[in-house]
Amino acid sequence: MLDKNAIGRSSPPTLNEVEKGSIRRFAEAIGDYNPIYYDEEYARASGFPTIVAPPTFPASFHSAADLRELLGVGIKSLLHAEQAFDYERPIFAGDRIMVSTKVADILEKPGPAGKMDVAVIEDEGRDEEGNLVFRARRTLVVRTSKELT
């Protein structure tokens, strides 16, 4: 059983610098060759200040959060069940985004083999002026030791 006291635990904001090369590598990794992710002139001609990141690019951001520490369980015992991103604006090459992570909720849900422990983790990205850029919510299911052996 996860400790409900973990709700509200958070990590300090960590700087993520959005580099063109990282955007290119991310787009290549998903096999998306839309020139808006690679070609600066094309991005400008499309009305953007510079190269844009694919919407799920925040998946590559790091935060100071250690889920084992925040939740008190091993990473390998967590299954990714749901994901949501909300965007205030697109993410651009050159952005400097502060990312922090918090435990938004811990709950029990009925599962195929009895009750499951579920943790909702929320990442928040803000620009250097403190304006919200995106929110990401991960729902993680804790696998029981039986499933792990």
Binding site: A59, Q83, A84
Partner: protein, 131 residues
């Protein structure tokens, strides 16, 4: 001229999870969980092999919506539930449908099925600003 989107408009996108895809995605995202990159670990976990990162399956659903809308800068929200792991050599077919266009917001519902017709995502929704 602004493009018109109507409720019921559809789009389709097909992606294959080739053998190296989980490795590429691990490199770009930093998600090196062994369950994604080590076949033996996936076998030991009872999954029959290594599985693709769910966020890559989601990235393709969002890509489908971006291609339809024509502009990644318009995407305001994306959410999915991972209902079945995507394995190496799976082919995922995404089928999207415009569910609503109210208030300058385009709501697209997307289904994602493997070659056996099994849903790998549920409740997948991408929203975009239009107009």
């Amino acid at each position: 001229m602004a493009r018109e989107f109507k409720v019921g408009d559809t789009f389709r996108h097909v992606r294959e999870c080739d053998k190296y895809r989980p490795l590429y995605y691990a490199g770009a995202s930093g998600d090196f969980n062994p369950i994604h990159i080590d076949k033996e670990v996936g076998m030991m976990a009872g999954l029959g092999g290594n599985i693709l990162q769910g966020l890559c399956t989601m990235a393709w659903a969002v890509e489908a919506a971006v291609n339809f809308v024509g502009d990644p800068g318009r995407i305001t929200r994306a959410k999915v539930r991972f209902s079945k792991p995507v394995m190496v050599d799976d082919t995922i077919t995404y089928e999207g449908r415009v569910a609503s266009t109210e208030g300058g917001k385009l709501v697209m519902e997307i289904s994602a099925k493997n070659q056996k017709g099994e849903e790998v995502l549920k409740n997948a929704v991408v929203e975009a600003r239009v107009g």
